[in-house]
Symmetry: C2
Subunit: 351 residues, 2 copies
Amino acid sequence: MLARIEKVRRRRPRVREERITLAHGAGGKATATLIDAVFLEAFRNPALERLGDGAAVEVDGTRLAFTTDSYVVSPLFFPGGDIGDLAVNGTVNDLAMCGARPLWLSAGFVLEEGFAVAELERIVASMARAATAAGVSIVTGDTKVVGRGKADGLFVTTAGVGVRERPTVLDAAAARPGDVVLVSGPIGDHGVTILIARGELDIDADLASDTAPLHELAAAVLDAGGDGVRVLRDATRGGVATILNEIAVASDVAVVVDETTVPVRPEVAGAAELLGIDPLYVACEGRMVVVVDAERAPAVLAAMTDRPDGTEAVAIGRVADDPPGLVLLRTGFGGTRIVDVLVGDPLPRIC
Amino acid sequence: MLARIEKVRRRRPRVREERITLAHGAGGKATATLIDAVFLEAFRNPALERLGDGAAVEVDGTRLAFTTDSYVVSPLFFPGGDIGDLAVNGTVNDLAMCGARPLWLSAGFVLEEGFAVAELERIVASMARAATAAGVSIVTGDTKVVGRGKADGLFVTTAGVGVRERPTVLDAAAARPGDVVLVSGPIGDHGVTILIARGELDIDADLASDTAPLHELAAAVLDAGGDGVRVLRDATRGGVATILNEIAVASDVAVVVDETTVPVRPEVAGAAELLGIDPLYVACEGRMVVVVDAERAPAVLAAMTDRPDGTEAVAIGRVADDPPGLVLLRTGFGGTRIVDVLVGDPLPRIC
């Protein structure tokens, strides 16, 4: 059966749907197919094909990282943050996951006619605070306005440029059997917080988004792990499960996760159970996955837990030979199941 | 009276409206106030405050330009182009106007649920062709999907990075009395084409958008003009009038335009007259304004008219001492009037 799944996955991608669905934006299977079939086919170039959190580029001997994300989170304000700091932290983190020191951000706003100027000011102030906290400057921007009913309040697209000062080459294709998989803290807080903030669930949990900049934690990981660090990825849309699937496919390895070690807050576990979703698929906005060779793993984990933004970091699994391209979960009951890529969109507009 | 206008302009900006209006996105007075009062106040940094088409930044001795624009043009497809090549050319041009060689672009898409995949493919193919034509790579991107009625088909935000290899410092504040003002071709084609494409006007004109990359023309201008080139700006949202006003204020000079020399196609002039708007305020997407010292102006103009993308370049005016901060138009009838900054939004969603 595994062989069959493998074969299906490697087939040349094609978008079967005639129209865009919410699943195309969910970060799972449909998003991957859309990206492969439409964007990669058209834009084909080596930097894009690496498909990390950003592009690694170089000019005149200066090694840079360049990344972008559009933010459409609903609601715009939620416990622990808003679309503004989410966007800044998200782009800072994408640069950090490339091993870069974040330097400059751009911000492009699409505003809906009638949006409250006071809310815009609040979001912009939050972006400014997040930028200061992360040591980056928002150096350029743009504002467009569309008529009522043609957008949903405010969308913002941030792009970022950073400098890759360290020699370590991070690549989702670099994981090797024997490597250890770490996460930097409890997963799923952001996604569940957004769902609760929408008021669609009859849940009242004491939860806040985990949105935070990860560049210092990433630097600490690289300092401690050096060349032993294979992959850094922030577990945003699609959650830890999606990141691990991308690594498994890109590196042609298995990733075996021990369910009992995956840190999930009881409130997140409870809400996820009510929703019928697995916390492994729920977005974080301030949590990273680290793949590091076994020898350097203890030093890297110690460097993480020594820091306030990594106190709850733990090892959750291992990279194995077989079955290549798959993520397996060893459950608390001693069984094993495949953690497949996300299908559909259980959590729309989470970021 | 001029003194009074001056004083009003220099007052600390404040957004008086409680809610965003279409005028805030039109590129004129309301946009400038929004940017000054909300974004500049919050993000304050030297690169942003220069407020050119992009930011001039530097790392490890490498001089870069970084820029972004969000595109919300309606309709998405129009004679001469679509939102895809418009976005790529727009970002290429913003980099070129910083005197940079464009290198890499990012693209963040916000798609509305139900958008036709075939239209997305058409737009992406158009972006790929425009990128190839401009010699840039689209190296990173993002796709988000929002529910039906929460966007208008497709919005795209491009950001770009280029390298500033030439020593020339271009700055809207660098214009000096005696300098010559050039435009690279007929103005207003893009804006009028979009309005006609919407079908709201009962006009059938043989017009196409002027969307085009300007980086080679900009390089030719800099080769011919060297340090004599003060400012390069593409005359997009708000048109040539808006750019000239920005230059007049930033450089504390007057810009005097000779109406009879401003190149406007008869179709554009006719449509503008029907609409009651001045072609000087209509967006171009492939035309640039050059401010160059008088001595180098003939060589620069010759370098432009020698190229296929600059054959219709002409001098349209001069920089003068007085009245500082204003743009004056010497009309065909021998009179003089002030070309003020744009108020309101006669041309929504033009780019």
